[in-house]
Each structure stands twice: as C-alpha cells, then as structure tokens.
C-alpha cells in the first residue's frame, strides 16, 4: 500500500523525480567508472607479467625497469650485455628466459626484438599462452609477428611487408628500408602490451641496424661484420630479459644473484613487487579521483534531500488526508522514506546500466587508447560494496525528510494547513 503510494506520488512529480534519479545515476556512474578503470588498469598491468618470475635489466629503479621493459613506457637507461644474459639464463634454477630488445618503432608502435622463446614461454592473464589469430611465429630474420591492435589499426595481415624505423617516435626520418620484414603472423588479442607491439627476431633487429650503419659509415659497419661471415651473429646486447624459474621459491636467490652480478651493474625485480610500487605512486591520484566521485555521490543525494524537503511543505494536506483515512504517522514516515529509497535505487540501477552501456560501447576505444581490456559483467564484490554504501547513504539521507513528515503529521493531525 505504502509502496504503491510512494511510487504514484513520485510518478506525479515526474520531472523532479527524473532529475533526481539522473543526478544520482551520474554520480553512481562516475563512482563505479573510476573504480572500474582503476581495477581494470591494475588487472591489465598485472596480467602482462603474470607468468614472469623476474625481470632483469641494466641498473635502474625497479619501477623504471618494469615500465620500460614490459610496458614500453619510457626508454631503458642502458643495455644488458649478451654475455651477462647468457650467464644468468644458464643458471640451474632458470626454466626459461625471454630476451627483449627495444628501441625501434613501426608507425608509432614499438618494435620488440626477441627469440622464439617469447612465443613459447610468455604467459599472461591466468596462465594463458600467446596464440596466433592468423599465420604463425616468425621463423627467420625477415619475418615479424604483429599484435592484434597493430594489425587492426594498420590493417595488416600475414604476408604484408613492413619497414621499421629507428627510435620510438610516431614519425621517424630514418627508415630501415633496406631490411623490410614480412608479417608472418598476427597474435590474438591479449589485453597486454603485446597487442601494440611488432615482434621481430633479435638477429633481424641487428641486421636492420647493421644495414643502417653501412649507410652511415661503411668502415664502422665493416668492423662490426662477423669475421667468419656467419649470417646470424649473436647479438651483442639486449634491453632486458624476462626470467621464468623452475620453482618460484628460487626467485629471491636469483634476484640477489643478478643484482650482485660482477660483470656489469644489473637490476632484477619481482614484477609483483615493482607493480606494488607503481600503485603506491598512482595511489594518491586514485584516492583523489575516488574522493571526488564520492563527493559527487553526496551532491546527488543532497539533491534528493532538497527535492524531498521542499516538497513536504506542499504535501501537508496530503498527510492530513492520509491520516484521516487511517494512516499511522509511521506509515507517513515510511511513505517518504520509501520515496527516497525508490529514487536511490532507480538512480543506482540507471547508473550501473549507463556504465555498462558505456563500457560496452567504449570497449574498443579503451583498449586501443589506454590498453584497458574492460570486461563488461556483473559488479565485483568491491563495486557491490560501493553500491551498497550509496544505497545505505540514500536511505540515511531519506530519514531526514521522512522524520520531518512524521513530526508534521503528528503535530497537524487532521488539520489542513495550506
């Protein structure tokens, strides 16, 4: 009975009710949106390194090494000598290693020089392997594998020929045209930086640089030439390498070993620990965003409070009528509380719906621009808790006008105050 009345009363004040619902919905949308993006960005970062036990690079800060080697954000300060890499890769605790050589680009996408171990051992998300949507892994120095987004944006398919440029910029004046690559395969979408990467072999990358060097300085290039004339000389240096261990328990030991490596100063990091450091840096921004969206929720609910309180003045007659037909003051209380409950609930439902619609529509954009692989699904427990807090706040705020109406209906009784 009271619920029906509350619903009809709100429907009668449709415009105000709709505005209130929309403002609560926007607030919920913002709150959950910020939370979802935060969650997804953390997850997508974590997914990229989920199968890696250690990352080793030249001496630098752990955060910098993590960001430059795995996420291609910024440039490595220094290289790792091939001999150092081999020394650690041959340790008995090590199950596999993936060398990474960065520094070139292809039309704004990073080019990664690596080995067949990359396609074999790299794991992302929940122990998922790289797979090819099209074609296969590169098998020689003139083949490349492109990530899903690279292929999607640039329209590449297996068999296409591409040229890579020196440096990491979108526009490079130095194109290594003498050593073009053929796209051997397109990787399936992973939601990790691999989607935005062109993969070639280490030797392929060296060949590019060697040929470029011939252009610049034939003597220097000649000096670099392998005296035996081998076609695939060992690379001299790489940017960093990923390490998979036979047992995770060896991680700290191998980490210390790398950090104390005598040949050159190296830094070895546990990806999870380094990520935590990243989150500590971004935490202040996240907290600020969260505080702002929480305030927006408060503003939305205050709007409801104002709307309900101002309506009470003109509803005193209605209260007297309800009392005359036998409504108890407590039922009048429930009526007004029910209205705020309804407004809050509708606002939450609309906000969640709008968020999902937005995420569904913006999925591609978020993925290509921010590298966020957003899953549209049921709210996580954390989000459910946030929604619960909004709902409870709505009810608590609704107590105020409800209590006022209760007092009014007790004091007025059947007196019509106009």
């Amino acid at each position: 009975m009271i619920a029906t009345l509350a619903w009809k009363s709100l429907r009668n004040r449709g415009a105000t009710a709709a505005l209130t619902i929309v403002s609560i919905a926007l607030a919920v949308f913002l709150l959950l949106g910020v939370e979802r993006i935060r969650q997804e960005s953390r997850e997508s970062f974590a997914a990229a390194v989920s199968g890696t036990d250690l990352i080793v690079g030249a001496r630098s800060s752990p955060v910098h090494l993590l960001l430059s080697a795995v996420f291609h954000l910024g440039n490595a300060t220094n290289n790792v000598q091939w001999t150092s890499y081999r020394a650690i890769a041959q340790r008995p605790e090590v199950a596999w290693t993936i060398p990474l050589s960065l520094g070139d680009s292809h039309r704004g996408y990073r080019v990664l020089g690596t080995t067949a171990d990359y396609y074999e051992h790299l794991r992302y998300g929940r122990d998922r392997r790289l797979a090819f949507a099209q074609g296969r892994a590169p098998q020689n120095d003139r083949e490349a594998a492109v990530g899903a987004e690279v292929a999607g944006t640039l329209g590449y398919k297996a068999g296409d020929r591409i040229v890579i440029a020196h440096g990491a910029g979108e526009v490079s004046f130095m194109q290594h045209e003498q050593h073009p690559f053929t796209v051997a395969g397109v990787l399936e979408r992973t939601g990790t930086p691999a989607d935005r990467t062109v993969h070639v072999s280490l030797q392929g990358l060296d060949a590019v640089h060697a040929e470029a060097a011939i252009d610049e300085d034939p003597i220097a290039a000649a000096l670099r030439e392998d005296p035996d004339g081998a076609t695939a000389p060992e690379p001299r240096a790489i940017t960093a390498f990923l390490v998979g261990l036979k047992s995770r328990s060896a991680a700290l030991g191998v980490q210390r070993l790398a950090n104390e490596y005598a040949g050159e100063p190296l830094t070895a990091i546990l990806p999870g620990v380094a990520l935590q450091e990243v989150w500590e840096i971004t935490g202040a921004v996240e907290r600020t965003l969260f505080a702002v969206s929480a305030l927006v929720v408060l503003v939305g609910l205050s709007g409801m409070l104002v709307a309900l309180l101002t309506s009470l003045g003109e509803r005193r007659r209605e209260m007297a009528i309800l009392r005359s037909v036998g409504a108890r003051p407590l039922q009048v209380f429930a009526l007004i509380l029910g209205e705020s409950a309804f407004l809050t609930a509708a606002g939450i439902v609309l906000g969640v719906a709008v968020l999902h619609a937005f995420l569904a529509a913006g999925q591609g954009w978020l993925e290509s621009r921010l590298g966020l692989f957003v899953v549209v699904g049921w709210p996580s427990p954390h989000e459910a808790m946030l929604v619960g807090i909004v709902a409870v706040s709505g009810l608590l705020i609704g107590l105020l006008p409800a209590f006022r109406a209760y007092r009014m209906s007790l004091a007025d009784g059947l007196t019509m105050r106009l």
Partner: protein, 237 residues
C-alpha cells in the same frame, strides 16, 4: 436502547504544554444512525472536537467513547487503526490526493483497513463498490473515475470525498464543513446525497458547518458554543 455511537462524559482538553482548556463538555450522546448538525463560531472548539472523535487527539481529562471504545485508553497506533476501520472523514476542501485517480482516492481507506475492504466488496473487487458509490453520488462513467483527482471541479471533488468517507461502511462519518466551498445551489444537493448514502450504509453522521440554512434537515442540532463550557466562558468573558 442500543449503545450510542458517541458518548462523552466530563471531557476536558487542553493542548499539551498549556493550561488553557479549549474544550470542556459535560456530556454528549450521539445515537446510532443519527444525523447531527454541529455548529458554532470559529474558536468554539469544532476542529478540536472532531480530532478527538477521530482519535487523533486524546482528552486531557474525562472520557470519549466511540462505538463503546474508550479512545483515550487506546495507544496511538490502535487509535489510527480504529479510525481506519470505523470513521469516514470529509474535509472542507482539497480532499483528494493529487497523484491518485478518482477511483484510487475512493478506494484509499480500504488500503488501510482490512475490515472496510471486507465490507466494501466481499468477494468483488473494491473498485466495483467504489464505482457504485460514485454513481450514487452522481459521478458515473469510467473515464471520470480514471481521471486525475485534480481535474475535477470543487463540487465533484467533494462528492468523491464523500464516496471515500462512505466506502466500506464505517459506523461514523465526520464531515468538517464539507459544503463551504460549494455554491448555495449545490450545498443542498450534496447534503441530500450524503444523507441518502449514510442511511443506506447505516452510518451516523456528524456534520460541522456554520451555514445555519442547512440545519433544518438534520435530526438534531448541537450548538457547540453552549455545549462547550470552555467556549461559553471565553465568549462571555
């Protein structure tokens, strides 16, 4: 002789927190089926007496019994339930809830009282009885019943209010100056309709007005200014 619908003895009422007695009635009996015309100048305590009869206020001293129940001895919730079950109320004006349709307004008391719902319809839907009452009061037609309450003229609103007060046959109908917003020609019509329906339902009618021209048709006329000793003192002072 059957039990009276209203029985007042030694009733005194002062607003809580004040000493000034605004209502002081030695004795008053209203019999079942009686139609009583209660009149008096403003300030004679009419609204206060109606609130006491409806169980919204409780006496400071003395007793007010409605249908044999001592209202002062009941708790607030019990008085609200008593009102829902046994009392129909018509206000001076603006009787209807603006966001409900005519028919929903009429059915409203049945939402708060199971016994009135039971009496209104038995097995039939409440709306049927509401339509019957509206038709009796000269308001027929489905479209009218589905209309918003605010779309009606004042006279129509008062008749809808009467239908609401009568639905589910409450024993006591209290009308607080229900005709003062109507023009003279419509007043007599409205009173006649109200009488007819009260008689049909066997309801006792307490009708408050200061329009003396109406009082001739009632069984009894009660000048509150003389019954209420507090008002009489105030007048003579």
């Amino acid at each position: 002789m059957s039990e009276p619908v209203v029985e007042i003895s030694g009733l005194r009422f002062a607003w809580p927190g004040t000493d000034a007695v605004v209502l002081d009635i030695e004795a008053l009996r209203i019999e079942r089926g009686e139609r009583v015309f209660l009149h008096g100048p403003s300030g004679s305590g009419k609204s206060t007496l109606l609130s006491l009869l409806a169980g919204v206020l409780v006496p400071t001293a003395g007793e007010i019994r409605v249908l044999g129940r001592n209202l002062g001895a009941l708790g607030g919730a019990a008085r609200d339930r008593f009102r829902a079950d046994h009392v129909g109320f018509v206000f001076q004006q603006f009787n209807l809830i603006p966001y409900l349709t005519v028919i929903e307004n009429v059915c409203l008391p049945c939402g708060f009282s199971a016994s009135r719902r039971g009496r209104a319809c038995g097995e039939r839907p409440v709306r049927r009885e509401a339509m019957r009452l509206l038709a009796q009061l000269g308001m027929s037609g489905d479209d009218l019943a589905q209309r918003g309450a605010t779309a009606l003229s004042v006279g129509q609103q008062q008749r809808v209010a009467a239908a609401r007060a009568l639905i589910g046959s409450p024993e006591l109908v209290i009308a607080d100056e229900p005709t003062s917003a109507l023009d003279a020609a419509r007043r007599a019509d409205f009173v006649a309709l109200l009488f007819a329906e009260c008689r049909r339902a066997g309801a006792t009618l307490v009708f408050v007005s200061h329009d003396a021209s109406l009082q001739a048709s009632f069984d009894r006329s009660l000048p509150l200014a003389t019954i209420n000793r507090a008002a009489a003192e105030a007048m003579s002072a």
